[in-house]
């Protein structure tokens, strides 16, 4: 007799029968009945009606039966909360049982019963179990705190369980430590701000000791927790790394990957000149390679992670190309991932081998794999210039195979090769044209049409070819239609005489017979262009296209850094930040790599202060989103960019607001032609043309004393990231008004018009007070300077860092996004001088923990000069004292949003280092105020 009989479906009236059996006097029969109930539950039958009868079986000394009843309880207690209370007594009694296994079982099960009423009864037994003499009970109780927190977080805090849990980190038993760490990490995730884990060198040391002693799973919990710690300097980072490296030899791949995560993260803090840095790099390669001998599912996880690691630190695996060669019996998911990594590792040194492999793969059986292999050959051509010729000839060989999908894939990549090496391989066009008829996939058709249009002048029968596509115009996908439209217009501009009829035909097809708005709009634009100014049309449509970049589908750097912090987890498998696939606020704390710091400098010193002077800061360029406008200019056939990472990265940058709604108002014309005059208070001149702003410059020249420091312009948006538009700029504050001085340079070959600007919500509500006005179109190589007045009445959202400003600039080509940091002193208002008494009172009133101290080094000025210079930037000296030969300046300033910052500046005559103490009710601004001091005093 075996247990499988319980799975056999029984007839009607089963519940009734079970009820009778459950209430039987015979123990054996009871147990049989409970087993049947559990089996029914497993296959999804509703057996909740038996609740009271099953609970009645709970009081038994048979542990097996007890566990089955508990299993039932966990499943159904929620639907029968009142009945569940019946079980409480037994639980409470079991928590006192002399047998530790039963005590633990009771507390473990009780935590799984998610009924509010039960949780109240749970507190007392749990408190006892957390201090139980038996480690088995303690380790179970530790996890139970996390369970209870999940049901009722407030209760856990009120009952002080968190502190008990923290104490368990110092427990003598390693497994208790590991479970406490796991529970605390989980609770901390839902309270991102709380300093629950409170990692400090002492607790880290405890964890590292426990690491050597606990189970493989415990080691994973601890390593994952360690990865959240930021060591205070490189020395500490190194010593932790040294103690973590032995884990790389663990048989459990998850332990290895978690150790790799800690090392990859802390390595960020080590100087590259350090010997240890090199040793560490060398130590990382072998375990990563060993992961590839694990079971296929783990290989997959490892490969997804290696993909990230080679993007972050290509040097680690650069000599290991061969281990990524595909094996015959690899599952397809492993094969595809290996292929990806092979391309990333391809270099001039190994390209011959890689190509030989790829060629082999292109003859395999699995269609997806073959396609990817063909595409990979194209990517190699683009990446390693020296191999381009060989890649092209390989692709031609593949086209000769006439295998339909191989040919199509090859044509798609050859198009990219043309983009990368213009005028080099066009001789192959003839071969491509031979295969025109076999193309049935939109992407391949579109690629082929692009090639025909682009090289229309070299293809004698280009018009015939395109005409043949035109026949079934309405059955084509949008991609092909758009491409066909553009290609025929190109053809017309190149050979106007013979193709007039053709172009008429396609324009009418696109504008009159199509209900696709994109197609229609593009058709109209071409039509108007061609009818009003054919020369301009030629310049626009046949404009020289920028080269495509070498590395395709790289993960955007900030996302990559974030994903490195998630090595081993699902995020690293999906290549998406957790916020993209985790619901709610759980576990979506944004993680970032630690900044590099050195131990020989104190953290207060200016050199180590993160985010230097605003002018030196490299602006982040947010990748462009939609390519709608670029589309028009036939740039739509850019290299294949992987969709999801881009989309998610912009979400994380907070650019959503810019995209949603806001942009529409930008593009909508009339409301920004006539700016509301009231919005431009004192700074009228700035919005006028250059003539007037010259005048204004004069006045500001006179008033230098009252104007605050202006940083030199820095490049915010490089031309290569914005289709030829370069934007540099700085921020100024003059007589009470803030403005953003921009310099727009057109480095593209086409004229730019229709400029508009918008800011994302930011910490101080900075917003343009008037629209961006560029009066004349910006012709190639022209530069225009504009001063954009700003106000601080925009919507407010706290940014990280505080002074981060995300900007969208639109022109006729596209919308571009960038972010920049503004110096805080542009927000210091003119009435920031505080009265002495007030100053004293406020200084005392602000709690001491809000005080921040900084060092300003190498500033040769004396107290008077400092005072007057700061005053011109609206930092006012309230009082001055001389204490033991040191000059003490007491200063105040006020921000646009009414926050007061009080400062004490200590200057020792003859010593170029000043000490600055800042006190403010919003301590997060201190760091930025200090930077403002630095900037003002040093320039």
């Amino acid at each position: 007799m075996t247990d499988s009989k319980y799975f056999t479906t029984t007839k009607k009236g089963e519940i009734f029968e079970l009820k009778a059996e459950l209430n039987s006097d015979k123990k054996e029969k009871k147990k049989e009945a409970v087993k049947k109930v559990i089996a029914s539950m497993t296959v999804g039958k509703d057996v909740s009606a038996l609740f009271p009868d099953v609970v009645n079986c709970m009081q038994t000394d048979n542990l097996e039966l007890k566990k089955l009843v508990y299993l039932y309880l966990m499943n159904y207690a929620k639907s029968q909360p009142d009945m569940a209370i019946m079980a409480v007594n037994t639980f409470v009694k079991d928590c006192e049982d002399p047998n530790p296994l039963i005590r633990a079982l009771a507390v473990r099960t009780m935590g799984c019963i998610r009924v509010d009423k039960i949780t109240e009864y749970l507190c007392e037994p749990l408190r006892k179990c957390l201090k139980d003499e038996d480690p088995y009970v303690r380790k179970t109780a530790a996890v139970c705190v996390a369970k209870l927190h999940d049901i009722n977080a407030q209760l856990v805090e009120d009952q002080g369980f968190l502190d008990t849990l923290k104490d368990l980190i110092s427990d003598s038993n390693p497994m208790v430590v590991a479970n406490a760490v796991a529970a605390l990490s989980e609770i901390a995730e839902s309270h991102p701000s709380s300093n629950l884990l409170d990692l400090n060198p002492q607790s880290i040391n405890k964890l590292l000791t426990a690491l050597n002693e606990c189970t493989e799973w415990g080691q994973i919990f601890i390593l994952d927790c360690l990865a959240n710690y930021t060591p205070k300097d490189d020395r500490e980072a190194q010593s932790i790394c040294e103690r973590v490296t032995p884990r790389l030899s663990h048989a459990n791949s998850a332990v290895v990957l978690s150790a790799v995560k800690v090392l990859m993260k802390f390595m960020e803090m080590l100087s590259k000149d350090l010997d240890y840095y090199g040793t560490l790099l060398k130590k990382l390669a072998p375990p990563l390679v060993t992961l590839l001998s694990a079971e296929p599912e783990l290989q997959y996880v490892a490969l997804r992670n290696i993909n990230l690691i080679v993007q972050k630190r290509p040097e680690i695996l650069k000599h290991e190309m061969k281990v990524f060669f595909v094996k015959y019996n690899d599952p397809i998911y492993v094969k595809l991932e290996k292929l990806d990594i092979m391309i990333r590792l391809a270099s001039q040194a190994n390209i011959a081998q890689v190509l030989a492999e790829l060629k082999e793969y292109a003859t395999e059986v699995d269609v997806d794999f073959v396609r990817k292999a063909v595409r990979a050959i194209g990517r190699c051509a683009i990446k390693v210039e020296q191999s381009a010729e060989r890649c092209v000839s390989t692709l031609l060989d593949l086209i000769q195979t006439k295998v339909n999908y191989v040919v199509q894939e090859a044509i798609v990549v050859i198009k990219d090769i043309f983009r990368k090496y213009p005028n080099k391989y066009e001789s192959v066009i003839a071969t491509l044209c031979e295969n025109l008829d076999s193309l049935d996939e939109p992407e391949a058709r579109a690629a082929m049409i692009w090639i025909v249009g682009e090289y229309a002048e070299r293809i004698d029968n280009a018009d015939e070819l395109l005409e043949s596509f035109l026949e079934g115009f309405h059955d084509e996908s949008t991609q092909v239609q758009l491409q066909l439209l553009t290609a025929i217009v190109k053809l017309f501009l190149k050979k106007p005489t013979e193709t007039q009829e053709l172009v008429q035909q396609v324009l009418s097809l696109a504008t009159q017979d199509s209900d696709n708005p994109d197609l229609r709009d593009r058709g109209y634009i071409y039509w108007r262009l061609l009818s009003t100014d054919p020369v301009a049309a030629k310049e626009v449509v046949l404009a020289e296209k920028p080269l495509i970049s070498e590395e395709t589908d790289l993960i955007e750097p900030t996302l990559l850094d974030e994903l490195i912090c998630y090595i081993g987890t699902l995020a690293s498998v999906y290549h998406k930040p957790p916020s993209a696939f985790v619901e709610g606020g759980r576990g979506v704390v944004h993680k970032s790599l630690p900044p590099r710091t050195a131990s020989n400098e104190s953290t207060e010193s200016p050199e180590t202060a993160p985010a230097g002077a605003p002018s030196g800061e490299q602006p982040d360029v947010i990748p462009t989103q939609g390519d709608l406008l670029g589309d028009l200019l036939n740039l739509d056939l850019g290299p294949p960019v992987s969709g999801p990472p881009l989309a998610t990265s912009s979400v994380q940058m907070g650019a959503v607001d810019l995209l949603g709604g806001g942009l529409d108002s930008l593009i909508g014309g009339p409301n920004f032609v006539a700016p509301p005059a009231a919005a431009v208070p004192a700074n009228l001149g700035a919005t006028m043309g250059s003539g007037l702003s010259d005048l204004f410059d004069l006045t500001s020249g006179v008033g230098t004393l009252s104007g605050s420091y202006v940083a030199p312009k820095a490049v915010w948006l490089p031309a290569m990231k914005a289709k030829g538009l370069e934007i540099s700029g700085t921020f100024t504050r003059q007589v009470g008004s803030i403005s953003m001085d921009l310099q727009l340079t057109n480095k593209a070959l086409q004229v730019m018009t229709d400029f508009a600007i918008q800011f994302n919500r930011n910490s101080f509500g900075l917003a343009p007070a008037a629209p961006l006005q560029v009066h004349a179109p910006l012709s190639p190589n022209q530069t225009v300077e504009i001063s954009l007045p700003l106000n601080t009445v925009g919507s407010v959202m706290k940014m990280e860092p505080l002074n981060n400003l995300q900007v969208a600039v639109k022109n006729n080509i596209d919308v571009f996004y960038f972010s920049t940091l503004y110096p805080l002193h542009i927000l210091f208002v003119e009435d920031g001088k505080m009265d002495r008494q007030m100053f004293l009172a406020t200084w005392k009133d602000i709690p001491n923990e809000n005080e921040a101290q900084f060092q300003i080094r190498d500033c040769p000025l004396n107290a008077e000069a400092v005072s007057s210079r700061l005053q011109s930037s609206n930092i006012f000296t309230v009082a001055k004292r001389n204490v033991e030969g040191q000059d003490m300046l007491y200063q105040s300033l006020k921000l646009t949003n009414g926050i007061w910052v009080l400062a004490e500046l200590r200057i020792q005559p003859g010593n170029p280092s000043f000490t600055l103490s800042l006190k403010c009710r919003a301590p997060e601004v201190s760091q930025h105020v200090y930077q403002a001091y630095e900037t003002i005093l040093k320039n």
Partner: protein, 402 residues
């Protein structure tokens, strides 16, 4: 962490379902069945995301094990856990099959309750589990026994229980090496590595402290010290190991600092370590296949094997598997040595040779009749595989047992 764990049969019927977290509902069970088990095409990834719920699965024969979560869990850990789960089940009731799972479902639930708490893996060493999760129901344990169990389950040596006694203390070490070789169609070796496993069978009493030393012939690349130049300078024939990993009983920090493998072994058989080496691999055999397609319905296959090792050594139990196309209708085999047979169920010709000395050569030729098919997909020509054993007397070289 893991929100739930389901086990299905090949039809997608759920055999075991255990939910640990509130965010996993009953519909998750069906979502996996519909989207993965019953999916039209072959599974393209062991991790599937369905409506913001992630499913990790592994398959053992025709049983599916799926772990479910809605959080950003440690993916490597989930898979390691699923493998471990399979090991534990196998240790309790043998092969993982539908029959065995149904027969032991109560036991499986009990195990799942113990080794996964709120989705966090707990001690999953069978040695320890077997002391208190038994199929005999509860034994009346004395207080000492109970505390011994709990201290073992949570303790530093969770893999071994105390008080083991053997009349004869014995220890066996097997070194199993597999040569992985990738060759181009032209016969050029693209990459080769040996992955070795050291399997230990320990029948020792008490809490034995074992220590293995490595002799100086072994150079571990990871150290960064033993570069190829240095080893060749030392003149000795060295064995370079690229990397090795150890069972969790081995004290890793000791290995890192002293190069010695010290541990208290679990009782019975376990895998002590794995290693990988890529240097100076001498292939013991060469297999030279020759496939000729005669028309559409006939295939001629000739395979030559050459043993490349010292003539004094002897390879035993050689088994060569030559895959055949799916539409094979009949096979005629002629071999000079050993026995060869076409196994239709495995789509392969299996050629067995009892023993073969070094530097010898043997061949097989076969004529394969094919059924004409409309299938345009060509035959993928899977690789020929080969198994054999070479016994060496110097069994403990290069490992020295202290």
């Amino acid at each position: 962490m893991i929100g739930g764990l389901f086990i299905y049969n090949h039809k997608g019927e759920v055999l075991i379902s255990r939910v640990y977290r509130d965010d996993i509902g009953r519909n998750a069970v069906d979502a996996f069945r519909v989207n993965v088990i019953h999916a039209r095409q072959q599974v393209r990834s062991p991790v599937t995301n369905i409506a913001r719920t992630s499913f990790f699965h592994v398959k053992r024969s025709n049983i599916w094990l799926a772990a479910v979560t809605k959080q950003n869990v440690n993916a490597a850990m989930v898979f390691e856990f699923l493998y471990k789960m399979c090991d534990v089940m196998a240790a309790y009731f043998g092969k993982i099959s539908e029959e065995n799972i149904k027969n032991n479902f109560v036991l499986i639930y009990e195990l799942l309750d113990e080794i996964l708490d709120f989705g966090y893996p707990q001690n999953s060493e069978t040695g320890a589990l077997k002391t208190f999760i038994t199929q005999q129901g509860i034994k009346s344990q004395t207080k000492e026994e109970q505390s011994q169990i709990t201290s073992q389950v949570t303790g530093q040596i969770g893999w071994r229980r105390e008080g083991i006694k053997y009349r004869r203390n014995e220890l066996f070490l097997d070194v199993l090496e597999s040569v992985n070789l990738l060759m181009s169609p032209q016969g050029q070796v693209l990459s080769a590595h040996v992955s070795g496993r050291v399997v230990m069978k320990s029948y020792l009493s008490g809490m034995p402290e074992c220590k293995f030393g490595m002799n100086d012939k072994i150079v571990i690349e990871k150290q960064g010290k033993g570069t190829a130049d240095e080893t060749s300078k030392s003149g000795k024939q060295s064995i370079a190991i690229d990397d090795c990993t150890f069972h969790q009983c081995v004290r890793l920090s000791k290995f890192d600092s002293e190069r010695s493998i010290s541990f208290i072994p679990p009782d019975g058989e376990f895998e002590l370590m794995r290693y990988r080496t890529t240097k100076d691999i001498i292939l013991p055999f060469r297999v030279i296949p020759l496939v000729r397609e005669v028309g559409r319905t006939k295939l001629e296959v000739k395979v030559v094997i050459k043993s490349n090792f010292k003539p004094s050594l002897l390879a035993q139990k050689i088994e060569v598997r030559i895959p055949t196309p799916l539409n094979t209708s009949g096979v005629q085999v002629i071999c000079m040595k050993g026995k060869a047979k076409y196994k239709a169920s495995e789509n392969a010709i299996v050629w067995k040779i009892k023993r073969m000395a070094g530097m010898k050569e043997s061949q097989i030729s076969a004529e394969i009749e094919l059924l004409p098919t409309n299938d345009k997909k060509k035959w993928a020509r899977p690789p020929i595989s080969m198994n054999f054993e070479v016994w060496q007397k110097r069994s403990l070289d290069p490992w020295r047992v202290c």
